[in-house]
Symmetry: C3
Subunit: 396 residues, 3 copies
């Protein structure tokens, strides 16, 4: 209650088109507030369906401090549950991927079906009603081979995103992918500074020399490349930037001669996702507030997901996907697949950590965003503040 | 004050025979509350008298964050003090065992007698009254060779436990023991989850295959073994389960053919504590809320003590005692002595940590205890809630 | 607001001439309170001018959690700024020494002059007013070759200290020094316990056998040494102890036969700072509340600076200066230069950490300072309480 009034005061002090008031970046209270007001109430992209290939496949992940379990059942349905046993609350499955026909709690062997129903519980009384102890479901949506979850019982509107995502991502056939590599980077900075960094390329020309090889870092990416536009139109691939309150979507041209976002702009996997336009379909970029951006080029998909784990500690999860028939060693090498984004993320980690250190200064004042170079940062900050205010208003 | 009202709200939400409300396991406020309401007001078993063999022997230990010092004086008396110098508060003695005829503060050499009286303090004025600066005593009781302390000036009733403990443990002659080995395990789980785990064997059949060799894990341990009962009755060794508000005590039969709780059920020390019944006296188990369980078999004593050190961090101290005349290398080997409980504790650590991770879930709801398999967990949770409510009522 | 009332309650409980109430040492709230009430409002010695030898030389340091930047401009002027870019708050310069003609933010290359004015900011709109985005200055004073800063816009009175410091330190010509060595020690103790330890030698006879070689540890240092007094008077070097509310200054004789504070009492640098009295000018000691003491002997200057980084974590920065023309390897060896104070600081670290552990005890009661042996500790505690009360009164 007290924290809500603290948050309301901070939010009321927000200066339009400027970075946030200091406390929202640095105060320990912002951590719990952001988890409850933002991460617990937003659609998050949990992964791709290809990560759950068969009945019983599962993926356990942590949203902030909250464990979630995603499983595919025998009918092919994919469901999400809170990863917490109905008995005494133990997690059912360790984080990561796995597979089993049933979900058995490692503590006392309470056993659930893939639909979350409690099938068995030993040494309970005769009148124990298993029907009252199913796993608690988490809202989930599937679109274009991707999986989205929301911890809130009343999630935000999804379909306007879903329709656009289907149109833009559908032709790339994400169902045909496989997860080829992952990375976890720990950043000593508030998650909002990590995301602000991720939503602008104002810092790219000096901060990311390698990314600049393929990525149009010198300008806003909506600069029109006539040849690219005509090629995409000819193929029926949508490209114009579209956006809703919590998402953005666009297909844009890479630098001349480049068909992938990689060290040299060339594909990092020789088994293409698409042969349209000779495999050069620019990059499909989507971004999901609060946590994600992703790039799908003709050869691979890269996903960046940001999770707060403390007031000044953020986990950045990176995932690389390639065609499911690509063979490691022959069609792609993991070090080459990961090289560009590992370098880029490490550069960004240093920038975000420097940013946090400086924001702690009593001399910090919210500064002006460049509305040209930091349009998406401004959008992110506005979305954050509006979502936070809505939360305060409905819980105050 | 605020925290008390928070605690009162949590406690009021307790559902009978169910695990605790989420906040009592996961909220940082529960840590300070539990230290003050529970650990500072309960009798705790500090160790055995045999750890302080001679005048000047001492044992310094930490209760939560509070340093305590136990010393034997020249008359054989054992006393406990707050381990904090009356000058500027420095600890007098590092944690662990030691021995010296006086207690000399390492900071400014203020010097105390073994009875806590200040004997010398340099460079203080002529009118300085040493009599006002004795060490502050901590209530202490000795029974059957064991030492119990309570940080409260008005400790709970002790004697009904003391009489029973004397009757059950006396024949084993704890005064003849020596401390042979210790272990500290750090668990990333709230201490109450560690203790709940320690108070049931519902998880043992799958969780502890090694313990199951000697320990009757398949059922509640009060299953009657007629032969054992008759043998104990014949020898005059009490065995029926007895309990008070904060303690339980019972002597029970081990699995057929076993006379010790060990990897193979055979003694881990060849110098027995007792020769009654050929050394097979089952196990004398005692449990002290909030922190301890112990098992005394015919060959050794194992003590498990749980100390909260943070909202999600718990120290588990293990101690193994054998007959004081047993010789290491000849009569017992330390690795063999420790093996079973080290394995068992490590298995329990993983279970308790999984439990904590899952209880963090927004999907967590207090779940039903099995009144047959989790009777002692239910007792522990009930005792905890009642003690906490009493504290709130008397400090509100 | 709540924390101020907490602090006021603690301060009201202070017993004269006794150590502080427990909460001021151990409560997490004391950390933020002390940073705001004490460290943000006090003059602190940032370093010596010799550390910024030329135009563009800079020194970045952290006061608690607050980054500060000190630069020398082309006119020789030395200025301090909050080390936080006016754009999005990133730090401009990493901690430590450096040199560059301009201050360029590593994030988006906003570029500042050495006077803090914003010279360039890319991709900002045509009507962007650079004049509104200068770096925010921090009050700074220079005296006798030393640099003092205060984060408050209304710093405490400085000149009475400045005049005395000029008189006492001027003859040693600090402008002719160079920084020869540094050390950072992390202590798990509240900063006030670190400073109390640093302000008395009651613990020295047993705690610091090495320091006792040269340093008069057996008594208050104002014991008069007639020969030394006469020599200093003859040379016109002031020596009598003088002090103001937040500082003390004195020149005192070392032990017989000693001319430096070192393992053997002999110079650790063969290139002297002064040849007055054959290089033996005792030690000029100055102390600045809340963070510093320093000793200047005829051969080198040692500075001890204490920075709180958490409720129970303190950084102790040590710096050693020698004559700027001294050559490492020939005139001085770094291990020998550092040896005494490294040993002494390590001994003090253990004492301060023991002190903190003991102060956590529920048996802790503020104890009596020895007004003879702990006069400066009493002064420090009184100054702390008065400063804290003043802060509460003006912010309540």
């Amino acid at each position: 209650m007290n924290d809500l009034s603290w948050a309301a005061t901070q939010l009321a002090a927000r200066k339009p088109d400027h970075s946030l008031p200091q406390g929202l970046y640095t105060d320990p209270r912002a951590f719990d507030f952001d988890l409850d007001a933002i991460y617990a109430r937003s659609w998050l992209m949990a992964g791709l369906e290809c990560e759950l290939p068969t009945a019983g496949s599962r993926l356990a992940l942590t949203i902030g401090k909250w464990p979630v379990l995603i499983v595919r059942d025998k009918t092919g349905e994919i469901r999400a549950f809170h990863n917490s046993c109905s008995h005494r609350g133990s997690i059912l499955c360790e984080a990561g991927h796995g597979s089993a026909p049933r979900l058995i709690c490692p503590y006392h062997r309470w056993t659930y079906g893939l639909d979350g129903s409690l099938l068995a519980a030993g040494r309970m009384p005769a009148d124990f009603n298993k029907g009252e102890h199913s796993l608690r479901p988490v809202p989930l949506r599937r679109v274009a081979g991707a999986i989205f979850i929301c911890l809130a019982d009343d999630p935000p509107e999804f379909d306007s995103f879903g329709q656009q995502f289907e149109a833009y991502a559908g032709p790339l056939n994400f169902a045909n992918l496989k997860l080829a590599a992952t990375d976890l980077m720990v950043e000593e900075a508030n998650w909002k500074l990590v995301m602000e960094n991720a939503r602008e390329c104002y810092h790219c020309p000096t901060g990311h020399p390698e990314l600049g090889q393929s990525f149009p870092v010198q300008s806003a990416q909506d600069t029109v490349d006539r040849d690219f536009v005509e090629a995409m139109d000819r193929l029926g691939l949508p490209h114009a930037g579209v956006e809703g309150s919590w998402w953005q979507l666009a297909r844009f041209a890479l630098n001349a001669g480049c068909s992938s976002i990689s060290m040299d702009g060339q594909p990092v996997c020789s088994r293409p996702l698409t042969t349209l336009n000779g495999g050069n379909v620019g990059s499909l970029r989507w971004a999901i507030d609060p946590h994600l951006f992703a790039h799908a080029t003709g050869d691979h998909v890269f996903v960046f997901s940001c999770m707060p784990v403390g007031p000044r500690e953020t986990h950045v999860f990176s995932r690389w996907y390639v065609h499911k028939d690509a063979e490691e060693g022959r069609d792609y090498q993991i070090p080459a697949l990961k090289e560009l984004w590992l370098k880029t993320n490490l550069q960004d980690k240093e920038l975000a950590e420097n940013n946090h250190r400086g924001v702690l200064s009593p001399g910090y004042r919210p500064g002006p965003y460049s509305l040209e170079a930091e349009r998406l940062v401004t959008r992110f900050a506005d979305w954050y503040c509006q979502s936070a205010k809505d939360y305060v208003a409905s819980h105050g």
